[in-house]
């Protein structure tokens, strides 16, 4: 009898702690999602709607509209395209170069590699602000169209400049990410390939690169988000309005006299969409890469 009572007591205790746990979890979810929810709610209200209600409330009857989304999409579409044109090459380039340098710094043996590695690590901590002025001066001294004599370079100069800057700036963090992964590769496996007659380049191409898929996913997602979300470099380095990226365009959605909150919120969601798509596409690989599986 007492055993049954014990069991009942245990069950009750479990239930109570469970309930508390879920309550806390739901509270945290609500806390984190509240800004998103209010943004989404605001973006589908008319101007009268968002003035009359609190941000969290759903649109009042008759004040629901998708017009803000329509306008935001129209005004950001060129910025979206520009951002994609800039961010994809920058991301791929810094991931590839980061992978290559991490391989050289981790799996090959040469004199002075520790010193070089320290420089890479230092590069991770360079604050953007400290390089703005020299960077601006550097790019004004470089004549891209004459360096790369291809027809399209002239009209995309701002984007190419920005893309190359992000690619270069991303190499250190990509190198560090790849290095931590390459350090876990079986050294004997690489020696086995060497014994089979593979050169350093062959080992990279046939062994290391194919085994890097999970860490590429991590690096691509991370780097794409970084590059996509950047506003500082974009404002400083791109002057040509036709080369404007989405973050700059989003910033300009802010009206000069009236705050069109619904438009700004819709614009923010439109600008964030591609990073979401990237997470969905590479999510599984990302989880594997973070967990350190190969």
């Amino acid at each position: 009898m007492s055993r049954v009572d014990d069991l009942r007591g245990t069950l009750a205790a479990v239930d109570r702690s469970r309930a508390a746990l879920y309550a806390v979890l739901f509270a945290m979810v609500a806390f984190y999602l509240a800004p998103l929810e209010s943004g989404l709610a605001t973006s589908i209200k008319t101007e009268a709607g968002f003035r009359a209600t609190t941000p969290y409330a759903p649109p009042p009857l008759g004040e629901f509209t998708l017009a803000a989304w329509q306008v935001a999409f129209d005004r950001l579409s060129q910025g979206l395209i520009n951002s994609l044109l800039m961010a994809i090459p920058a991301t791929v380039l810094s991931a590839l170069l980061g992978s290559l340098s991490a391989y050289g710094l981790t799996n090959l043996d040469w004199r002075g590699q520790t010193g070089v590695l320290v420089l890479f690590v230092a590069g991770v901590f360079l604050p953007y602000q400290s390089v703005l002025v020299p960077l601006r001066q550097f790019w004004s001294a470089v004549d891209l169209p004459s360096l790369i004599p291809l027809g399209f370079v002239g009209s995309y100069e701002g984007l190419i400049t920005l893309s190359l800057t992000h690619a270069a700036y991303g190499i250190p963090i990509c190198t560090v990410l790849f290095r931590s992964y390459y350090a876990t590769l079986d050294e004997e496996m690489i020696e086995a390939a060497r014994l089979d007659g593979a050169s350093a380049a062959t080992i990279y191409r046939r062994i290391v690169l194919p085994l890097s898929v999970p860490i590429f996913a991590v690096t691509l997602i991370y780097q794409f988000t970084q590059v996509w979300n950047d506003l500082l470099f974009a404002i400083v380095l791109v002057t040509d309005p036709s080369n404007q990226v989405v973050t700059v365009a989003l910033n300009q959605l802010q009206g000069s006299f009236v705050n069109q909150y619904n438009l700004q919120m819709a614009g923010a969601f439109v600008a964030a969409l591609p990073t979401l798509v990237v997470y969905v596409l590479f999510g599984e690989q990302f989880a594997k890469g973070v967990a350190g599986e190969s």
């Binding site: 020696e191 089979d196 007659g197």
Partner: protein, 375 residues
């Protein structure tokens, strides 16, 4: 096929000498095992032969050709690693054929050789399996096939069985011996497991502190160890050691005396020597007829019994005084093995004798052997 010669091989890292003036002559077709405790330099020695590490000094010849400065791929060797080290993203066929494809052999030749190698290690029908779908033993076979397929002059094997479970290890041991018979290629094998070394090798090279201690056939290492290190390392359980000194009557220690004529050997009265005797050469004093030449009786006290099935290991304490028995000095202990049908009780007094013809004497200071078996 080729012989391997190491001359004065030394490998120094910044503050450690991993290999110290190693000289070795390995015959064509021989199975030589490098054995020693971890960190003794056996793997480094193998890496210098493979070319994965360059020696600080000395030369290496394979098949009469100086390969000291050649890259690994041009030395005519293949290597099997402890971690097995398969390429995880390639199937069995691609793993085995990797080196051949790099060298751009034509497809028919590659197929023929892969099939042959897979046949030798019994991997038929597994060509499109991925490493992650295979058991440890199967993976090790793939690794061996990958080594065979290159048709090397010398096989280097660095603890290839260390990561396998005990049963599989014994099985692979016989397979490697069969492989050696079949291929008739020189094999250099590194292990810290003296049982592997004893069972497989033509000769064992015992290495300690980067130095070659002895290179001889297994039974010679067992019966005539050149020094205390080899005597203690080869054989399981280890040889018993008792420290004492030479008197006019022979060997004398606190609890053990063994008579001999000091003039008959290279010792003089007062020398500090260590007596070595293997567990199977210690006998009960009762019914000792089987020993032709027993030593004086040693009074002992049984401590722990370890029945192994085919024999029983008896741990003996030599100090009779209960207080002294707490002391754990090696010289006060003796391990003997007896037949399982002999009745021995735990915690009882017991008289034992040593087989004089199986007694080893070593210089205590240098550890060098003086004599194996007293007359």
């Amino acid at each position: 096929m080729a012989n391997v010669t190491l001359e004065h091989i030394t490998k120094r890292y910044e503050d450690v000498t991993a290999v110290d003036d190693m000289n070795l002559d390995i015959e064509d077709g021989e199975f030589v095992t490098f054995v020693g405790p971890s960190g003794c330099g056996k793997s480094t020695t193998m890496e210098t032969i493979a070319g994965l590490t360059l020696p600080t000094e000395g030369t290496i010849e394979i098949g009469g050709r100086d390969v000291t400065d050649l890259p690994p791929k041009d030395r005519g060797i293949s290597m099997v690693f402890q971690n097995i080290a398969l390429f995880p993203h390639m199937d069995v066929y691609d793993n085995i054929s990797f080196g051949l494809r790099l060298r751009e052999y034509d497809q028919e030749e590659i197929d023929r050789r892969v099939e042959e190698a897979a046949d030798i290690v019994q991997l038929e029908g597994m060509m499109d399996r991925m490493p992650e779908e295979m058991s440890g033993g199967q993976r090790q076979r793939v690794a061996i096939a990958r080594a065979i397929v290159r048709n090397p002059d010398v096989f280097l094997m660095d603890e290839p069985l260390a990561n396998l479970d005990a049963k599989l290890r014994v099985h692979m041991r016989t397979e490697l011996q069969r492989l050696h018979k079949e291929l008739d290629t020189t094999i250099i094998y590194v292990t810290h497991d003296q049982a592997e070394a004893m069972t497989m090798s033509d000769r064992i090279a015992v290495i300690d502190s980067g130095q070659l201690q002895q290179i001889d056939p297994p039974l010679v290492c067992y019966n005539e160890p050149t020094n205390l290190f080899v005597a203690g390392f080869i054989g399981s359980p280890s040889m018993n050691f008792v420290e004492g000194e030479v008197t006019a009557d022979g060997f004398d220690a606190e609890h053990v005396t063994v008579d001999f004529d000091p003039d008959a050997y290279d010792v003089s009265v007062g020398d500090e020597v260590t007596l070595g005797i293997r567990p199977e050469d210690v006998y009960l004093a009762d019914g000792v007829e089987s020993v032709e030449d027993p030593s004086a009786v040693v009074d002992a006290w049984t401590d722990v019994l370890e029945p192994m099935g085919n024999e029983v290991f008896v741990y003996l304490k030599l100090a009779q005084d209960a207080e002294l028995r707490i002391d754990e000095r090696d010289s006060d202990q003796l391990l003997m093995s007896v037949d399982p049908d002999v009745e021995v009780e735990e915690d009882g007094e017991i008289d034992v004798v040593l087989d004089r013809s199986r007694v080893h004497l070593f210089e205590t200071g240098s550890g060098d052997a003086i004599v194996h078996g007293l007359d």
